[in-house]
Amino acid sequence: MKDWRYWLAEQRGTLLALGIFIVMFAIYSANHPAGFSANVVQTAANKGVLLAFVAMAQTLVVITAGIDLSVGMIFLLTNCLASWLVVGTPMQTTLGLIAVLAAGLLCGAINGAIVIYGRLQPIVATIATGAVYYGIGLLLRPFPGGSVNEDLADALTGRVFGVVPASLVVLLAVVLVIWVPFSRSVLGRAAYAAGSSETAAYMSGVPIRRGKFAAYALGGLLAAIGGLFLTFFTYTGEAAYASGNAYTLFSIAAVVLGGVSLFGGKGSAIGAIFGALAFRTIGDLLFVFDFDPLWQPLFQGVILLIAVSLGAFALFRVRNRLEWFL
C-alpha cells in the first residue's frame, strides 16, 4: 500500500467525525435564523470548545483502554477554583491560571496514580475520585458565585481579527502544544501500545506505566483548560452535580463519535474534538427546528445510545465466536 492509504486508514475515524460535523453544522447554520455569520460561528464555537477540551481529556485516558468518569468533576472543580483565583492584576491572573492548570494536572495525576500504581479498576477509582473532586468544588463554591478577570475572559471568548472565534484559536494552540507532542513522544506511543495490548507492550519493554500515567495526568490538565473556559464564559463558578455528570457522559459520546475505540489503542484527540463539535451541533439542531427544549436530554441520550451501538457492527466481522468474549 502507498503511504497515503495507510494514513487514510489511520485517520478514518477522525475524517468520519469531521464529515459528520460539517454536514451537521451546514444543516444547523442553514436553518439558523441569523444564517452563517461570524456571530453564529462564535456562539457555536464557544459552546463546542468546552466539550472539546473535556473530550480530549477523555481521549487520552480512553486510548490507554481506561476510562475517566471524573473528567466532568475535574472540569467543575477547576471552574470553582478559577472563579476564586483568576482575578486581579495581570500578574495575579497569570499565577491564578497556573494554579488552576496545576490543580487539574494534580487531579489527573491522582487518578493515574490510583489506577496504575494502586492497580484499581479505572471505573470505580474515578467514580470515587470524582466524588472527592466534586466535594472540594462544593467546598470552594457552596453557592454559585465568584468572578474572573473579565478582560482576559472577553479576549479569549471573543473574535480574533473580527472573524475567527478566539476559543478555536486556543483550542488549536492546545492541540499543537499538548496533543501533537504527546502523541509523537515515547510516552504517547506507550499509551497507545498499552491500550492496544498491554501484555505485548510490557514484553517489548515499552514504558507502559509512565505512558498511562502521563495520559491520566494530561487528561486532568485538559479538563482544567475546559474548566477555565467555562469560567470565562459564565464569569462565575458553580459546583452543579448534574452538569459535571453531563460533561462526563457527553465526553464519552464525543470520543465515540470521534472514532476513538473504547477498547483502547485506536483514535486521536483531533477526532474527539470533531466528535465533540458534532455532538454539540446535533444537540443544538433541536433549537433551530423550534422543538421544545424539554426534548433535548432525550435527544442527546438517544444520539449517545446510537453512537455507542454503532461499534457493535464490528461483531459481524468476527469469524470466531470466542472473540465475542474478551
Partner: protein
C-alpha cells in the same frame, strides 16, 4: 508475607471465622468501630430505636445494592441506577393517577419500567458486546430524557400510593419495619439463587471467565441479560420504596444511590472484576455505608465533606483489598 501471618493466626481461630472472607470480616469490624465512635458522640446511638431506624434506611440501599451485586459478580457494572431508581418511583406514582386499576398496578408497573431499562442494558452488553459502563451510562441518559419529557421538567405532582407507603414505612410484624422485611426477603432469595441454583453458579462462572463458561455449553449471553434485567428491576423497586418513604417521587432521587450502591458491594469484598463475593459482604457493606452516612449527618457534616469522605473511604478500602494482581 502478610498472607502467611494471616494464615497462622487464622489457623487458631474457630472454623466459621477461618472460612469467612477477610474483606467481610473487615467490613463487620468497621461497623463495630463506627458504632463505638458514634456512641462516644451520642448516647442514643446504641438504642434499639435508632439502630432499627438505621436498618430501615439501609434497606432501600440494600435492595438497590442487591441488583448491583449481581451485575458486578458478572464483572460488569450498572451505571443506570440513578434514573432506573427515579423512573421506577416516578412511573409507579404516575400509574397511580389512572384510577383504581392504576393504584393496584402501580408497584408492578414501576418495577416493569426498571426491568425494561435493564433489558436494554442487557441487550447492549450481552448481544452487542458494548462495554457495560458505556451502554448503562447511555440508557441512564435516555431514561433521564424520557422522564424529563414526561414530567415537563418539573417533579411530578402524583404522590405515592397507600401500598407503597405501607411497604416502606408500615409494620406488618410489630417492631420490625416492612422495608427491613422486604430487604431480608430479597436478600434471602438472592442468597438462594447465588448458592443453590445453576443460574447463580453460572453468574460466578461468567465473572471468572466468560469464554470458559460459554465453552461449557452455557448460554452466557442470556444469563448476562437476565442479570441486567434483575438489576434494573431491583433499582426501580428501590425507587418505589423510596417514593413510599418520602410519599412522593422526585427527579434527582436516584443520584444519591449510584456511588453508595457500588461502594457497598465493593466494600463487602465482592471483586469488581467479577466472579468472587458473597451476599453477606454486601449486607455488611450496605450497613457500613448507611452508618457512615448517618454519623456524618449527625455530625452535621455538609454535603461537600460527605462526598469527599465517601470517595476517600472507598479508594482506601479498595486499596486495602480490591487491587488487581501485580503479575502479568
Amino acid at each position: 508475607m502478610s498472607e502467611t501471618t494471616l494464615g497462622g493466626i487464622a489457623g487458631r481461630m474457630p472454623k466459621f471465622i477461618r472460612r469467612a472472607d477477610p474483606a467481610v470480616l473487615t467490613a463487620f469490624a468497621c461497623i463495630v468501630v463506627l458504632l463505638l465512635l458514634g456512641s462516644l458522640y451520642s448516647r442514643s446511638f446504641l438504642s434499639p430505636e435508632y439502630l432499627l431506624q438505621q436498618l430501615k434506611v439501609a434497606s432501600f440501599l440494600g435492595v438497590i445494592a442487591t441488583g448491583m451485586m449481581l451485575v458486578i459478580l458478572l464483572g460488569q457494572i450498572d451505571l443506570s441506577v440513578p434514573w432506573a431508581v427515579a423512573a421506577g418511583a416516578m412511573m409507579a406514582c404516575a400509574a397511580a393517577a389512572y384510577g383504581p386499576a392504576g393504584v393496584a398496578l402501580a408497584i408492578p408497573f414501576g418495577i416493569f419500567c426498571g426491568v425494561l431499562i435493564g433489558i436494554v442494558n442487557g441487550i447492549g452488553v450481552a448481544y452487542l458486546r458494548i462495554p457495560s459502563m458505556i451502554i448503562t451510562l447511555a440508557t441512564n441518559a435516555v431514561a433521564q430524557g424520557l422522564m424529563v419529557v414526561y414530567t415537563g421538567g418539573f417533579s411530578p405532582q402524583d404522590s405515592a400510593t397507600g401500598a407503597m407507603r405501607y411497604l416502606a414505612t408500615g409494620f406488618a410484624i410489630p417492631g420490625v419495619p416492612n422495608a427491613v422485611i422486604i430487604w431480608a426477603l430479597i436478600g434471602a432469595a438472592m442468597v438462594f439463587v447465588l448458592t443453590r441454583t445453576g443460574f447463580g453458579r453460572t453468574v460466578y462462572g461468567i465473572g471468572n471467565r466468560e469464554r470458559a463458561a460459554y465453552l461449557s455449553g452455557i448460554d452466557t449471553r442470556r444469563v448476562v441479560m437476565i442479570a441486567f434485567a434483575v438489576s434494573g428491576g431491583l433499582s426501580a423497586f428501590g425507587g418505589v420504596l423510596l417514593a413510599g418513604y418520602a410519599s412522593k417521587a422526585a427527579q434527582s432521587m436516584g443520584d444519591a444511590y449510584l456511588l453508595p450502591s457500588i461502594a457497598a458491594v465493593v466494600l463487602g469484598g465482592t471483586s469488581i472484576l467479577g466472579g468472587r463475593g458473597s451476599y453477606l459482604g454486601t449486607v455488611a457493606g450496605v450497613i457500613l455505608i448507611t452508618l457512615l452516612q448517618s454519623i456524618l449527618s449527625v455530625m452535621q457534616m455538609p454535603e461537600a465533606g460527605r462526598q469527599i469522605i465517601y470517595g476517600v473511604v472507598i479508594v482506601a478500602m479498595l486499596l486495602l483489598y480490591g487491587r488487581a494482581p501485580a503479575s502479568r
